[in-house]
Amino acid sequence: MRPRGRRRAAWRADWRALTAEPVVATAVVLLFALLGLFIVYPLARVFWVGFVPDGAVSLRLFREAAGNWFIRRAFANSLLMAGLTAVLGVACGYLFAYAVTRTDMPGRRLFEVMAILPIISPPFIGALSIILLLGQNGLITHHLLGLRDFPIYGLPGLLLAQVLTFFPVAYLTLRGVLESISPTLEDAAMDLGASRWAVFRRITLPLSGPGLASALLVLFIESLADFGNPLILGGSGFPVLSVQVYLQVTGMFDLAGGAALAVILLVPSVTAFFVQRYWVGRKRYVTVTGKPARSSLKAVSPFARWCLFAVASGLTLAIAAFYAVIVVGAFSRTWGVDHSPTLRNFGYVMGVGLGTIGDTLLIAVGSTPVAGLLGMVIAFLVVRRRFPGRRTLELVSILNFAVPGTVLGIGYILAFNQPPLLLTGTALILIANFVFRYVPVSIQSGTAVLHQIDPAIEEAAANLGATTAVTFRRITLPLIVPAFFSGLTFSFVRAMTAISAAIFLVSADWNLMTVQILSQTEAGRLGAAAAFSVILVGLILVAIALIRLSLGRIFRYSYQASFS
């Protein structure tokens, strides 16, 4: 066996296949150029500025960061926060998913719907709610309990916000995992004399293992990259790295120092990403076979069922409280002082923020279809065509999963702040950022669907004389329409709620609602922040409803995959 020779032969075959189809070749070249420009180049700039601060390669910035006790604490805090959020969030998500998939408890539909809410909201809405509920003038702390200086700033408040924000992500992943474990296995174990607890401990839990590990890593990455919650709730007492990157750039005007911190922040994220993708992601047990198994739902004892019901209700109630308080806050005169109903906050928002609302919608609507279509094209090429660099293309295009938004934000400033690529201050830089930041989700749902479509269908089209472009347009695209629109919905929601990268890229001409909410919160205008949030979530819900109504009627498919 001569692997090198064989690999070279395979590469040559790929190359021949590519040159035989000019359309594919052009698309591949174009994609590599785009991904290189908007993903690789900005990241490379971050590394360049971090490692070459004074025209020569030097570790000076990193030595400075390591020597700074505040930065060291921020790094440790980031890891602590991300680790705890991952563990608690996955625990909540798993219990929630188990309750929904393994019992017939009342209110399951409501639980499922409520768990989606945090996913379609700006990620720092939890922080805003926590301040309204538990802050200095908080509804619970101040008015119910009469506490003056309840220490909500710091790790506990931050954890509460992050767990409630991110547990739904774990829930969606783990629901899929639990649904893929055949209930017959649990029946079989029980039949062989295992008690209910033993069934869970020896069968269900180990079979969920790979899914749990994967969810842990995903939540770790998301929590590490989270920007809004720690900015609002961390304060100076609990600095974290993602916020320090931002403060370094905007507070101290130190781009190079910010870049160095960004590189440091990248290390744990990218490590977790590669562990997830190449180690945990490979391990999976497929136990559901073609025939649907009848579940007896006997594996949960009445007592356990009540405990699960309590957990699910508790989480749902907490989410409901979070959103209720935002709505109430938006219609209150002065939070904590005068709760008489008013539209003043909305008047204020319309006065100062109407342009921002327009900008936000325009940029989201502009970036969404591009991200959706690009995702499908990449998925199609990666799954169905062989060409040199196929794996690289896939890896680069989903690399942004692992890159915290603040890192990418710095990268875009560094990359596009001078001619010929002068994009800073334009809408284009925001659109480009959103497109390439959220295209991985489209790619993943596209690849998942394509793997399920028999290649023979496309081969039949080619056999009947269709070119690759015609095959894609007339056969593949209609078949992957569900994945396309779920990617579309996701991209839209994310573009509307993005903050961490966007905050570097907004300008006087092009501002975003999320940035407005954050700055209103920081300025203490909680009513205005709440009003902005209500409008933002309202717009997202209307958009999702519109997409569902118009498309759900044409294509009968489930949107459940939209947010996973």
């Binding site: 017959t184 079989a188 174990a189 029980m190 062989l192 004399g193 295992a194 069934v199 136990t287 025939k291």
Partner: protein, 361 residues
Amino acid sequence: MSLELRGLTKVFPDPRDPIREVRAVESLSLAVRAGELVTLLGPSGCGKTTALRMVAGFETPTAGTIGIDGVDVTGRPPHLRDTAMVFQSYAIFPHLTVAENVGFGLSTRRVPPAEIARRVASLLDLVQLAGLGGRSPDRLSGGQQQRVALARAIITEPKVLLFDEPLSNLDAKLREEMRDEIRAIQRRVGITSVYVTHDQAEAMALSDRIVVMRAGRIEQVGPPVEVYARPATRFVANFVGRVNFLAAEPVGPRAVRVRLGPATAELAVAESPGAGGDPRLAVLRPEAIRLLPAAAADPGQPRGRVRRAVYLGGVAEYEVEIGPVALLVSVANPVAEGLFAEGDAVAIALPAHPVAVVPAS
């Protein structure tokens, strides 16, 4: 008595219309003797799997009781009754090795590891998987997975062994092989067994007794020969094997007259066909009828024409047209007996031995 079901009933809400209900099993009463293998046979939806799942404890009966060795276990959860099931999908635990799968039931009973290892090894021997204990189940063939499932179920020596269509995922040749093996192993270990299938050949080959079910109720219980040769109802006759029904008119205490086109013939019957009243059908199995070349026949014999001939090697099957009647005839050793082609004129020899008679409705 080893397993006794009394008035077992299961009513589900209709999945399409929750206000209506589906009566999956309707007052099923059955006694299975120690060491016996009884098959529940019926078309899909007849309630046989639901009945089995009630015995295992996966479904709670709406009414009725389940007794194992004289103890009422109706209200017990699955892990507290001494039953073991071989599932249709095998339900092999994918994260455990073959040996860990087989030993699972013992480990839940806190048997010492050394003892478990010893018994697993002897069970793997029994199902011809010796030496594969360390394997991961995803590296086993379908037949091997089936053997693991069987070994796993019998290792705890349960009082009742349950089979839920265990062979339906195997291809035809392997299915026959495993069928005989299951029978041999069940005989050797002597565990009282209930076996669910919709395949009548499987039921015949395996069972001490067959319970034919239809729409949640028992149609007939009896040994395979009885169910085949003396079906109690038209449904049983039709479901167990292939059949010709001929309208039968009683002509004596042990005889009926049937009409074959212009001719009539008298047949001996096993039991008294009953006087007048309800219309009756004589049950003629295809292999009980013989065909002769028309030229060689007696003048009084009924005659017909071959409408369809299918040569299958071991047997030839013919559809013979006699006036308005079409008879299905199956001839063993056809080369020696003489082959007929489509369109040939033939004479029909009806069986001389007593046939069964069932009510027409």
